[in-house]
Protein backbone atom coordinates (compact mmCIF):
# COMPACT_ATOMS: atom_id res chain seq x y z
CA UNK A 1 0.00 0.00 0.00
CA UNK A 2 1.38 3.32 -1.01
CA UNK A 3 1.95 5.87 1.71
CA UNK A 4 0.53 9.38 1.65
CA UNK A 5 3.05 12.19 1.94
CA UNK A 6 1.75 14.91 4.22
CA UNK A 7 3.06 18.34 5.09
CA UNK A 8 1.37 20.00 8.03
CA UNK A 9 1.97 22.34 10.93
CA UNK A 10 2.11 20.93 14.43
CA UNK A 11 2.46 23.30 17.37
CA UNK A 12 3.77 25.93 14.98
CA UNK A 13 6.42 23.74 13.37
CA UNK A 14 6.26 22.45 9.83
CA UNK A 15 6.20 18.70 9.94
CA UNK A 16 6.38 16.25 7.08
CA UNK A 17 5.51 12.62 7.34
CA UNK A 18 4.49 9.61 5.33
CA UNK A 19 1.46 7.68 6.54
CA UNK A 20 -0.90 4.98 5.38
CA UNK A 21 -4.25 6.07 3.95
CA UNK A 22 -6.20 4.64 6.87
CA UNK A 23 -3.83 5.80 9.59
CA UNK A 24 -5.37 8.16 12.12
CA UNK A 25 -3.85 11.44 13.17
CA UNK A 26 -3.55 9.95 16.65
CA UNK A 27 -1.44 7.08 15.35
CA UNK A 28 0.68 9.47 13.33
CA UNK A 29 1.29 11.69 16.35
CA UNK A 30 2.11 8.84 18.69
CA UNK A 31 3.83 6.29 16.49
CA UNK A 32 5.47 8.38 13.79
CA UNK A 33 6.16 11.71 15.44
CA UNK A 34 6.81 10.62 19.03
CA UNK A 35 4.14 12.97 20.38
CA UNK A 36 2.59 10.63 22.93
CA UNK A 37 0.76 13.29 24.94
CA UNK A 38 -2.49 12.51 23.14
CA UNK A 39 -3.75 9.17 24.49
CA UNK A 40 -5.89 6.44 23.01
CA UNK A 41 -8.57 5.59 25.55
CA UNK A 42 -11.12 4.21 23.12
CA UNK A 43 -10.24 4.90 19.49
CA UNK A 44 -13.88 5.67 18.74
CA UNK A 45 -14.31 9.30 19.80
CA UNK A 46 -16.04 8.46 23.07
CA UNK A 47 -13.42 9.46 25.65
CA UNK A 48 -11.66 12.59 24.40
CA UNK A 49 -8.22 11.51 25.66
CA UNK A 50 -6.79 12.09 22.18
CA UNK A 51 -8.17 15.63 21.81
CA UNK A 52 -6.21 18.05 19.65
CA UNK A 53 -7.10 21.30 17.99
CA UNK A 54 -7.26 21.19 14.20
CA UNK A 55 -7.53 24.59 12.53
CA UNK A 56 -9.14 26.09 15.64
CA UNK A 57 -11.62 23.20 16.01
CA UNK A 58 -11.47 20.76 18.87
CA UNK A 59 -11.37 17.22 17.49
CA UNK A 60 -10.60 13.68 18.53
CA UNK A 61 -7.39 12.83 16.73
CA UNK A 62 -8.56 9.20 16.59
CA UNK A 63 -11.35 10.35 14.27
CA UNK A 64 -9.11 12.25 11.86
CA UNK A 65 -6.96 10.63 9.21
CA UNK A 66 -3.33 11.65 9.16
CA UNK A 67 -3.73 12.30 5.44
CA UNK A 68 -6.42 14.89 6.12
CA UNK A 69 -4.01 17.20 7.93
CA UNK A 70 -2.21 18.23 4.76
CA UNK A 71 -1.77 21.99 4.86
CA UNK A 72 -3.54 22.38 8.18
CA UNK A 73 -2.63 23.39 11.71
CA UNK A 74 -2.58 20.94 14.57
CA UNK A 75 -2.17 21.91 18.23
CA UNK A 76 -1.36 19.22 20.77
CA UNK A 77 -0.67 19.16 24.50
CA UNK A 78 3.04 19.31 23.75
CA UNK A 79 2.56 22.84 22.44
CA UNK A 80 0.50 24.17 25.31
CA UNK A 81 3.26 25.46 27.59
CA UNK A 82 5.65 28.13 26.35
CA UNK A 83 9.07 26.77 27.17
CA UNK A 84 9.07 26.28 30.91
CA UNK A 85 6.09 28.61 31.38
CA UNK A 86 2.95 26.61 31.90
CA UNK A 87 -0.37 27.66 30.41
CA UNK A 88 -2.72 28.95 33.17
CA UNK A 89 -4.89 25.88 32.72
CA UNK A 90 -1.92 23.59 33.29
CA UNK A 91 -0.98 25.56 36.39
CA UNK A 92 -4.51 25.48 37.77
CA UNK A 93 -4.88 21.76 37.11
CA UNK A 94 -1.79 21.25 39.27
CA UNK A 95 -2.91 23.62 42.03
CA UNK A 96 -6.40 22.14 42.24
CA UNK A 97 -5.22 18.54 41.99
CA UNK A 98 -7.51 18.23 38.98
CA UNK A 99 -5.76 15.00 38.04
CA UNK A 100 -5.24 11.74 39.79
CA UNK A 101 -3.97 9.16 37.32
CA UNK A 102 -3.51 11.87 34.70
CA UNK A 103 -4.27 9.85 31.58
CA UNK A 104 -7.22 12.05 30.64
CA UNK A 105 -5.41 15.27 31.56
CA UNK A 106 -3.90 16.19 28.17
CA UNK A 107 -7.31 15.77 26.54
CA UNK A 108 -9.03 17.82 29.22
CA UNK A 109 -6.45 20.60 28.97
CA UNK A 110 -6.83 20.84 25.20
CA UNK A 111 -10.63 20.77 25.44
CA UNK A 112 -10.62 23.37 28.21
CA UNK A 113 -8.30 25.58 26.20
CA UNK A 114 -10.68 25.42 23.26
CA UNK A 115 -13.63 26.05 25.55
CA UNK A 116 -12.10 29.18 27.08
CA UNK A 117 -10.97 30.45 23.69
CA UNK A 118 -14.60 30.39 22.54
CA UNK A 119 -16.19 31.30 25.84
CA UNK A 120 -13.83 33.15 28.21
CA UNK A 121 -16.42 33.44 30.98
CA UNK A 122 -18.29 30.15 31.11
CA UNK A 123 -20.81 29.17 33.77
CA UNK A 124 -20.31 25.91 35.64
CA UNK A 125 -22.95 24.33 33.44
CA UNK A 126 -21.22 25.53 30.28
CA UNK A 127 -17.95 24.08 31.52
CA UNK A 128 -19.59 20.77 32.36
CA UNK A 129 -21.31 20.45 29.00
CA UNK A 130 -18.26 21.82 27.18
CA UNK A 131 -16.10 19.09 28.69
CA UNK A 132 -18.65 16.28 28.40
CA UNK A 133 -16.67 14.72 25.57
CA UNK A 134 -13.76 14.02 27.90
CA UNK A 135 -14.06 11.11 30.29
CA UNK A 136 -12.33 11.11 33.64
CA UNK A 137 -12.74 8.08 35.87
CA UNK A 138 -10.70 9.27 38.87
CA UNK A 139 -11.80 12.71 39.98
CA UNK A 140 -15.57 12.90 39.68
CA UNK A 141 -14.81 16.08 37.67
CA UNK A 142 -15.22 18.38 40.68
CA UNK A 143 -11.63 19.57 40.82
CA UNK A 144 -11.38 19.73 37.02
CA UNK A 145 -14.32 22.11 36.84
CA UNK A 146 -12.87 24.23 39.63
CA UNK A 147 -9.49 24.38 37.92
CA UNK A 148 -11.10 25.57 34.69
CA UNK A 149 -13.15 28.17 36.57
CA UNK A 150 -10.03 29.43 38.28
CA UNK A 151 -8.01 29.47 35.06
CA UNK A 152 -10.76 31.46 33.35
CA UNK A 153 -10.43 34.14 36.03
CA UNK A 154 -6.65 34.26 35.62
CA UNK A 155 -6.87 34.38 31.83
CA UNK A 156 -9.43 37.16 31.85
CA UNK A 157 -7.14 39.18 34.06
CA UNK A 158 -4.15 38.60 31.79
Amino acid sequence: MAGVAVSTTINGDTVEFLCQADETLLDVLRDRLGLTGAKEGCGTGDCGACSVILDDRLVCSCLVLGAETEGRRVETIEGMAHGDRLHPLQQKFLEHAALQCGICTPGFLIAAKDLLAKNPDPTEEEIRFGLAGNLCRCTGYDKIVRAVQDAAIVMKGA
Binding site: D22, G43, L65, N134
Partner: protein
Protein backbone atom coordinates in the same frame (compact mmCIF):
# COMPACT_ATOMS: atom_id res chain seq x y z
CA UNK B 1 -6.21 1.47 0.28
CA UNK B 2 -6.11 4.88 -1.37
CA UNK B 3 -6.98 8.29 0.00
CA UNK B 4 -7.94 11.01 -2.46
CA UNK B 5 -9.11 14.56 -2.07
CA UNK B 6 -10.86 15.63 -5.27
CA UNK B 7 -11.50 19.31 -5.93
CA UNK B 8 -14.72 18.95 -7.90
CA UNK B 9 -17.95 16.97 -7.66
CA UNK B 10 -17.36 15.61 -11.15
CA UNK B 11 -14.01 14.21 -10.15
CA UNK B 12 -15.36 12.78 -6.91
CA UNK B 13 -18.30 11.13 -8.64
CA UNK B 14 -16.05 9.80 -11.39
CA UNK B 15 -13.56 8.32 -8.92
CA UNK B 16 -16.33 6.68 -6.92
CA UNK B 17 -18.14 5.36 -9.96
CA UNK B 18 -14.97 4.04 -11.49
CA UNK B 19 -13.63 2.39 -8.38
CA UNK B 20 -13.59 -1.33 -7.96
CA UNK B 21 -13.88 -2.77 -4.47
CA UNK B 22 -15.19 -0.93 -1.45
CA UNK B 23 -15.20 2.82 -1.43
CA UNK B 24 -16.16 5.29 1.24
CA UNK B 25 -16.96 8.98 1.28
CA UNK B 26 -15.18 10.93 3.99
CA UNK B 27 -16.56 14.20 5.29
CA UNK B 28 -16.42 14.38 9.09
CA UNK B 29 -15.35 10.78 9.47
CA UNK B 30 -16.98 10.38 12.86
CA UNK B 31 -18.88 7.31 11.69
CA UNK B 32 -16.52 6.07 8.98
CA UNK B 33 -13.39 6.00 11.14
CA UNK B 34 -15.22 4.22 13.95
CA UNK B 35 -16.36 1.55 11.51
CA UNK B 36 -12.85 1.23 10.12
CA UNK B 37 -11.42 0.94 13.64
CA UNK B 38 -13.88 -1.82 14.46
CA UNK B 39 -12.95 -3.70 11.31
CA UNK B 40 -16.50 -3.44 9.96
CA UNK B 41 -15.30 -1.80 6.77
CA UNK B 42 -11.95 -1.78 5.00
CA UNK B 43 -12.42 0.58 2.09
CA UNK B 44 -10.11 0.33 -0.90
CA UNK B 45 -10.79 3.96 -1.70
CA UNK B 46 -11.50 6.86 0.64
CA UNK B 47 -12.83 9.97 -1.10
CA UNK B 48 -12.41 13.04 1.09
CA UNK B 49 -14.99 15.56 -0.15
CA UNK B 50 -13.97 18.47 2.07
CA UNK B 51 -11.85 20.19 -0.57
CA UNK B 52 -14.67 20.32 -3.11
CA UNK B 53 -15.68 23.86 -3.84
CA UNK B 54 -18.77 24.98 -1.95
CA UNK B 55 -19.28 21.82 0.05
CA UNK B 56 -18.14 23.44 3.27
CA UNK B 57 -20.55 26.35 3.04
CA UNK B 58 -24.01 27.20 4.27
CA UNK B 59 -25.69 29.31 1.58
CA UNK B 60 -28.79 31.37 2.18
CA UNK B 61 -30.75 31.46 -1.07
CA UNK B 62 -34.07 32.94 -2.09
CA UNK B 63 -35.66 29.56 -1.42
CA UNK B 64 -34.06 28.95 1.94
CA UNK B 65 -30.80 27.34 2.98
CA UNK B 66 -28.36 25.02 1.28
CA UNK B 67 -26.10 23.24 3.73
CA UNK B 68 -23.03 21.77 2.05
CA UNK B 69 -22.31 18.12 2.72
CA UNK B 70 -19.01 18.87 4.44
CA UNK B 71 -20.26 21.55 6.84
CA UNK B 72 -19.50 20.42 10.41
CA UNK B 73 -22.43 20.56 12.80
CA UNK B 74 -20.57 23.06 14.98
CA UNK B 75 -20.78 25.52 12.07
CA UNK B 76 -24.55 25.08 11.88
CA UNK B 77 -24.70 26.31 15.44
CA UNK B 78 -22.64 29.34 14.51
CA UNK B 79 -25.02 30.43 11.75
CA UNK B 80 -27.39 32.93 13.33
CA UNK B 81 -29.73 32.97 10.32
CA UNK B 82 -30.09 29.20 10.24
CA UNK B 83 -30.58 28.99 13.99
CA UNK B 84 -33.30 31.60 13.80
CA UNK B 85 -35.13 29.89 10.95
CA UNK B 86 -34.67 26.24 11.93
CA UNK B 87 -33.80 26.05 15.63
CA UNK B 88 -35.01 22.46 15.85
CA UNK B 89 -32.73 21.29 13.06
CA UNK B 90 -29.78 23.11 14.57
CA UNK B 91 -30.41 21.77 18.07
CA UNK B 92 -30.64 18.26 16.67
CA UNK B 93 -27.39 18.67 14.77
CA UNK B 94 -25.75 20.08 17.88
CA UNK B 95 -26.70 16.98 19.87
CA UNK B 96 -24.57 14.66 17.74
CA UNK B 97 -21.58 13.54 19.77
CA UNK B 98 -19.25 15.66 21.84
CA UNK B 99 -17.68 19.06 21.17
CA UNK B 100 -14.86 17.09 19.57
CA UNK B 101 -17.25 15.29 17.25
CA UNK B 102 -19.19 18.49 16.55
CA UNK B 103 -16.13 19.96 14.89
CA UNK B 104 -16.19 17.13 12.37
CA UNK B 105 -19.59 15.49 11.98
CA UNK B 106 -22.05 16.60 9.31
CA UNK B 107 -25.82 16.27 8.93
CA UNK B 108 -25.29 14.69 5.53
CA UNK B 109 -23.06 12.07 7.10
CA UNK B 110 -25.59 11.57 9.87
CA UNK B 111 -28.23 10.97 7.19
CA UNK B 112 -26.09 8.64 5.07
CA UNK B 113 -24.92 6.61 8.05
CA UNK B 114 -28.57 5.54 8.08
CA UNK B 115 -28.86 4.85 11.78
CA UNK B 116 -32.49 4.75 12.95
CA UNK B 117 -31.28 6.71 15.99
CA UNK B 118 -29.52 9.50 14.07
CA UNK B 119 -30.20 12.77 15.88
CA UNK B 120 -30.46 15.18 12.99
CA UNK B 121 -32.69 13.02 10.82
CA UNK B 122 -36.04 13.29 12.65
CA UNK B 123 -35.55 17.05 12.75
CA UNK B 124 -34.71 17.15 9.05
CA UNK B 125 -37.65 14.93 8.18
CA UNK B 126 -39.96 17.08 10.26
CA UNK B 127 -38.53 20.13 8.53
CA UNK B 128 -39.26 18.62 5.12
CA UNK B 129 -35.61 18.89 4.15
CA UNK B 130 -34.40 17.66 0.77
CA UNK B 131 -31.10 16.22 -0.31
CA UNK B 132 -29.29 17.17 -3.52
CA UNK B 133 -27.81 14.00 -4.92
CA UNK B 134 -25.10 14.12 -7.57
CA UNK B 135 -24.12 11.00 -9.44
CA UNK B 136 -23.00 9.57 -12.74
CA UNK B 137 -26.56 10.11 -14.03
CA UNK B 138 -26.61 13.76 -13.01
CA UNK B 139 -28.24 15.72 -10.25
CA UNK B 140 -31.53 15.00 -8.45
CA UNK B 141 -33.27 16.36 -5.39
CA UNK B 142 -35.07 13.95 -3.05
CA UNK B 143 -36.76 14.18 0.34
CA UNK B 144 -34.30 13.28 3.09
CA UNK B 145 -36.52 10.51 4.43
CA UNK B 146 -36.03 8.58 1.22
CA UNK B 147 -32.27 8.37 1.73
CA UNK B 148 -32.05 5.81 4.56
CA UNK B 149 -33.83 2.58 3.67
CA UNK B 150 -32.92 0.56 6.75
CA UNK B 151 -30.22 0.40 9.40
CA UNK B 152 -26.95 1.18 7.61
CA UNK B 153 -28.59 1.13 4.16
CA UNK B 154 -29.36 4.01 1.80
CA UNK B 155 -31.06 4.45 -1.54
CA UNK B 156 -27.95 6.05 -3.04
CA UNK B 157 -26.50 4.30 -6.08
CA UNK B 158 -22.82 3.62 -6.70
CA UNK B 159 -21.04 6.86 -7.43
CA UNK B 160 -23.72 9.04 -5.91
CA UNK B 161 -22.85 11.72 -3.39
CA UNK B 162 -25.15 14.02 -1.47
CA UNK B 163 -23.92 17.50 -2.25
CA UNK B 164 -26.15 19.51 0.07
CA UNK B 165 -29.21 19.46 2.28
CA UNK B 166 -31.89 22.02 1.42
CA UNK B 167 -34.17 23.66 3.94
CA UNK B 168 -37.06 25.82 2.84
CA UNK B 169 -37.43 29.46 3.58
CA UNK B 170 -39.53 29.84 6.68
CA UNK B 171 -43.18 30.79 6.48
CA UNK B 172 -44.20 33.28 9.14
CA UNK B 173 -45.36 31.86 12.49
CA UNK B 174 -43.36 28.68 12.11
CA UNK B 175 -41.32 26.79 14.64
CA UNK B 176 -39.58 23.48 15.00
CA UNK B 177 -38.05 21.51 17.85
CA UNK B 178 -36.19 18.28 18.43
CA UNK B 179 -35.86 16.26 21.63
CA UNK B 180 -34.22 12.98 22.29
CA UNK B 181 -34.02 10.76 25.31
CA UNK B 182 -30.61 9.62 26.53
CA UNK B 183 -29.70 8.12 29.91
CA UNK B 184 -26.82 10.52 30.47
CA UNK B 185 -26.78 14.23 29.75
CA UNK B 186 -24.36 13.88 26.83
CA UNK B 187 -22.45 11.39 24.69
CA UNK B 188 -25.25 8.89 24.20
CA UNK B 189 -27.12 7.63 21.18
CA UNK B 190 -30.82 8.50 21.23
CA UNK B 191 -32.97 5.82 22.84
CA UNK B 192 -35.97 7.52 21.29
CA UNK B 193 -36.43 10.95 19.75
CA UNK B 194 -39.00 13.29 18.27
CA UNK B 195 -38.91 16.19 15.84
CA UNK B 196 -41.89 18.50 15.39
CA UNK B 197 -42.32 21.30 12.85
CA UNK B 198 -45.35 23.60 12.92
CA UNK B 199 -46.80 26.61 11.17
CA UNK B 200 -49.63 28.56 12.78
CA UNK B 201 -52.30 30.78 11.33
CA UNK B 202 -52.92 34.33 12.52
CA UNK B 203 -54.97 33.03 15.43
CA UNK B 204 -52.37 30.68 16.77
CA UNK B 205 -54.06 27.61 15.36
CA UNK B 206 -51.77 24.98 13.88
CA UNK B 207 -52.07 25.23 10.11
CA UNK B 208 -49.55 22.62 9.08
CA UNK B 209 -47.45 20.17 11.00
CA UNK B 210 -44.91 17.41 10.58
CA UNK B 211 -43.98 14.97 13.32
CA UNK B 212 -41.06 12.57 13.02
CA UNK B 213 -39.90 9.92 15.48
CA UNK B 214 -36.42 8.42 15.75
CA UNK B 215 -35.11 5.12 17.12
CA UNK B 216 -38.54 3.52 17.13
CA UNK B 217 -38.37 1.71 13.78
CA UNK B 218 -35.87 0.63 11.14
CA UNK B 219 -35.90 4.16 9.72
CA UNK B 220 -37.09 7.49 11.05
CA UNK B 221 -40.91 7.58 11.04
CA UNK B 222 -42.86 10.49 9.63
CA UNK B 223 -46.12 10.16 11.54
CA UNK B 224 -48.83 11.63 9.38
CA UNK B 225 -51.57 10.82 11.90
CA UNK B 226 -49.72 12.76 14.56
CA UNK B 227 -49.60 15.79 12.29
CA UNK B 228 -53.34 15.51 11.79
CA UNK B 229 -53.84 15.54 15.56
CA UNK B 230 -51.99 18.84 15.80
CA UNK B 231 -53.51 20.57 12.79
CA UNK B 232 -56.43 22.76 13.77
CA UNK B 233 -55.46 22.79 17.43
CA UNK B 234 -53.87 25.26 19.80
CA UNK B 235 -52.04 22.46 21.53
CA UNK B 236 -54.39 22.17 24.45
CA UNK B 237 -53.86 19.40 26.97
CA UNK B 238 -56.24 17.00 25.25
CA UNK B 239 -54.47 17.46 21.91
CA UNK B 240 -51.10 16.78 23.49
CA UNK B 241 -52.41 13.64 25.16
CA UNK B 242 -53.82 12.46 21.85
CA UNK B 243 -50.51 13.26 20.17
CA UNK B 244 -48.65 11.18 22.75
CA UNK B 245 -51.02 8.29 22.24
CA UNK B 246 -50.80 8.42 18.46
CA UNK B 247 -47.01 8.60 18.54
CA UNK B 248 -46.74 5.72 21.00
CA UNK B 249 -49.01 3.73 18.74
CA UNK B 250 -47.05 4.55 15.61
CA UNK B 251 -43.81 3.17 17.04
CA UNK B 252 -42.47 -0.17 15.91
CA UNK B 253 -39.58 -0.36 18.37
CA UNK B 254 -37.34 -3.20 19.45
CA UNK B 255 -35.82 -4.25 22.76
CA UNK B 256 -32.10 -3.64 22.72
CA UNK B 257 -29.20 -2.56 24.89
CA UNK B 258 -30.44 1.01 24.89
CA UNK B 259 -34.07 0.56 25.78
CA UNK B 260 -37.16 -1.59 25.87
CA UNK B 261 -40.20 -1.60 23.59
CA UNK B 262 -42.43 -0.30 26.40
CA UNK B 263 -39.99 2.44 27.32
CA UNK B 264 -39.61 3.63 23.73
CA UNK B 265 -43.36 3.70 23.10
CA UNK B 266 -44.10 5.60 26.25
CA UNK B 267 -41.24 8.08 25.92
CA UNK B 268 -41.84 8.68 22.20
CA UNK B 269 -45.20 10.10 23.18
CA UNK B 270 -43.74 12.16 26.01
CA UNK B 271 -41.05 13.64 23.77
CA UNK B 272 -43.50 14.38 20.97
CA UNK B 273 -45.63 16.33 23.44
CA UNK B 274 -42.67 18.26 24.76
CA UNK B 275 -41.21 18.96 21.32
CA UNK B 276 -44.60 20.09 20.02
CA UNK B 277 -44.95 22.45 22.96
CA UNK B 278 -41.55 23.99 22.25
CA UNK B 279 -42.18 24.22 18.51
CA UNK B 280 -45.53 25.87 19.18
CA UNK B 281 -43.93 28.47 21.44
CA UNK B 282 -41.22 29.12 18.86
CA UNK B 283 -43.90 29.68 16.23
CA UNK B 284 -45.33 32.34 18.48
CA UNK B 285 -48.21 30.29 19.85
CA UNK B 286 -49.33 30.96 23.36
Amino acid sequence: MRYIRPLSMEDAVGQLAGSSGTSAILAGGSDLLVRMKGGFIEPDLIVDIKAIDGLSEIRETGDGFSIGAAVPCAVLGESAALKKAWPGVVEAAKLIGSKQVQGRCTITGNLCNASPAADSVPALVAAGARAVVVGPAGRRTIPVQSVPTGPGKTSLAKGEIIEAILLDKRAPRSGDAYLRFIPRTEMDIAVVSAGVNLTLDEHGVVKSARVALGAVAATVLLVEEAAQVLIGSRLDEATLERLAKVCAGACRPIDDKRGTIEFRRKVAGVLAKRAATTAYARAGGK
